[in-house]
Amino acid sequence: MKPPSAPPPPEDPPGVPGFRTWRGVYQFVFAFFVLCVLLLAVFSRVFA
């Protein structure tokens, strides 16, 4: 029987209110980036 592999070491929490994992922080930053691009696209459409 294959021995179970050791679990990866737990990650340090980001210590940012509202976020328990770094994955959550990255998702938030990514969502903010998408929002920025969308707003810029709308801005171009409205004023160009």
């Binding site: 770094w22 903010f32 980036f33 810029l40 004023f47």
Partner: protein, 576 residues
């Protein structure tokens, strides 16, 4: 500039440099000298990363670029947040875990000594070339408009940055960059607010109607320099190279109290970079509107160069162009006001015809500006005909009150010093750790000698940058020149790191030859575009293409070699 301006300028610039030198004068630990204080927090790291990236060119050239071509350049930064997420998730934890001083030390541990030396050499070659540009760019513009002697300006800024960077190393760089960023933010916000108070009503729609607010371009054209696709893909690879593999940036975030501080510092940049750059390019677009309503808007913004030729034997030709420009500008003002009135009236047919008339006037205005440049070049082939870098500085000197002028000149010099300091610090660290310690392994144990050598290397690279700036004439379009040079050298380096992180079966010899082959490939591709314009592609595309070439060549060479030429050492081997 009057006495108040000089007091503000020297107080901000010399004061911050003196403070940084004084506070870090006892730095004698190698770790602190190369990585900064161990208790550095994420705010300092975030500001330091931002200050190192944004040089004077960002604050001086970018508004001019937006004035000329609109705000499409913002797309260049679209890949940056994505790259920073990747750096945070993959690059930074490994650098911290291995306790390396430089990114290239990691290559030595993952592959072998020759790959580490190749990585370090590519960095030193590319960054060493850019070091001169960073110091030259603000000096040429400030000396032109303020009448300062160019060589003296280069020497003053160069020696100032050498003094505090040599004294306190990374600790001094972090400390001074925080205060320099405060000056930069304060100055730019002040300039923006003053500009807003001077704009006519409806400034944003005017800028939009005249084609300056096209921020996102969905055209899938490889030849188009800035599009959504080149920005996301090309910008992603360019930013990944810069933040993940360029020691100038790696050094800014690998220090700090914990991994968390570096990560938060990078995420701070990922969040604020696009909004910040948007404000800077908007400043340029609004400057464009502002100058449409000024009766004395120059036909050519580098007035020093223009007046020099007006006073010459061919001055009459330039006078004719000036008069033509004044007439066209007056006509354009009438057309703009007519368009605004038609827009408010709400009659679609009137609005459309008024818009056509306004655009025709804009075309005539562009044509006379081009005629001015062509005539200047015809009169003097050596004349500097790119004047967009002088748009913002013209506004600063003619429209801002005294004191604020000094503050804005301080912004330009502070941004030059902050990015220069980061570069010198990284060049010295790579020279000490990856070259000197590699060739003198026995001396590596002597910490005091390491610090002494790092200081000597800092001074040496500083003098090299000053010498380069003093004796070399650079391309006029500096911001693009910087990015083009980066796009030539970064792709192969990024390819090596991608292989290191994600292709565990590839060994040192395969990746070494693949990096050299992909570097030649990128240079050939770039040269082919220059000799045969039909095959030219936007320079941002060189980044993904060069990186992909390095990865493919690595796999190919590894398959040919058949076995690992140099098996990777344990990743936990202590850093040397």
């Amino acid at each position: 500039m009057n006495l108040l301006d000089w007091l503000v300028l020297l107080g901000a610039i010399v004061g911050i440099a003196a403070y940084g030198t004084w506070r870090t004068r006892h730095t004698d630990s190698l770790n602190t000298y190369l990585k900064g204080n161990h208790n550095t927090g994420w705010v300092t790291i975030g500001l330091s990363v931002m200050a190192t990236q944004a040089s004077t060119i960002t604050y001086l050239s970018l508004p001019g670029q937006a004035y000329e071509n609109g705000i499409a350049f913002i797309q260049n930064y679209f890949g940056l947040p994505l790259a920073l997420i990747i750096v945070c998730a993959f690059f930074l934890p490994i650098y911290r875990k291995l306790g390396v001083y430089t990114a290239y030390e990691y290559l030595g541990q993952r592959f072998d000594a020759k790959t580490r030396l190749l990585g370090a050499s590519l960095f030193l070659l590319h960054r060493g070339l850019q070091a001169g540009i960073t110091i030259y760019a603000p000096a040429i513009i400030l000396s032109t408009v303020l009448g300062w002697p160019l060589n003296l300006t280069i020497l003053f800024t160069g020696l100032l940055v050498i003094i505090y960077t040599v004294t306190g190393g990374s600790a001094a760089v972090n400390l001074t960059q925080r205060w320099q960023m405060a000056v930069i933010f304060g100055g730019m916000v002040t300039a923006f607010v003053v500009l807003l108070t001077k704009l006519p009503a409806g400034a944003v729609p005017i800028a939009g109607a005249l084609g300056k607010l096209q921020a996102v371009d969905f055209t899938p054209d490889l030849k188009q320099r800035y599009t959504l696709w080149s920005g996301i893909l090309g910008g992603l690879f360019l930013s990944l190279s810069y933040f993940g593999t360029d020691q100038t940036q790696v050094q800014r975030y690998i220090g700090g109290a914990a991994l968390r501080e570096g990560r938060l510092g990078l995420m701070f940049n990922a969040m604020f970079k696009i909004p910040m750059q948007f404000c800077i390019v908007m400043l340029g677009a609004l400057l464009f509107v502002f100058f449409q309503f000024q009766p004395d808007t120059p036909v050519f913004f580098n007035q020093t160069e223009w007046r020099r030729h007006v006073a010459g034997p061919e001055g009459a030709r330039l006078h004719v162009i000036e008069e033509k420009h004044t007439a066209i500008l007056a006509d354009k003002q009438v057309k703009i006001r007519a368009w605004m009135a038609a827009r408010e009236s709400g009659v679609p047919g009137d609005e459309a015809s008024a818009r056509s008339a306004m655009l025709a006037a804009q075309k005539a205005s562009d044509a006379v500006r081009q005629e001015a440049r062509d005539t200047l070049r015809a009169i003097d082939p050596q004349a500097k005909i790119k004047d967009s870098d002088y748009v913002f500085i013209t506004f600063i000197l003619t429209q801002l009150p005294h004191g604020v002028i000094g503050l804005l000149i301080a912004v330009m010099i502070a941004s030059a010093l902050s990015s220069k300091a980061g570069e010198l610090n990284a060049l010295a660290t790579t020279s000490t750790i990856d070259l000197w310690r590699h060739f003198r392994p026995l001396a590596a144990q002597d910490e005091a000698r390491n610090v002494r050598n790092a200081k000597w290397f800092t001074a040496l690279w500083g003098c090299f940058a000053i010498g380069f700036a003093l004796f070399v004439s650079f391309a006029e379009n500096l911001i693009e020149a910087l990015n083009i040079v980066a796009s030539l050298f970064y792709p192969a380096l990024l390819g090596v790191f991608v292989v290191a992180f994600f292709l565990k079966k590839v060994g040192g010899s395969a990746v070494f030859w693949a990096a050299l082959a992909s570097q030649v490939f990128v240079l050939l591709l770039f040269s082919a575009g220059k000799f045969y314009p039909a095959y030219e592609i936007g320079y941002l595309w060189l980044n993904p293409i060069g990186c992909a070439a390095c990865v493919i060549f690595s796999l190919l060479f590894q398959a040919i070699i058949g076995q690992r030429a140099s098996p990777p050492a344990s990743p936990m081997r202590p850093a040397t």
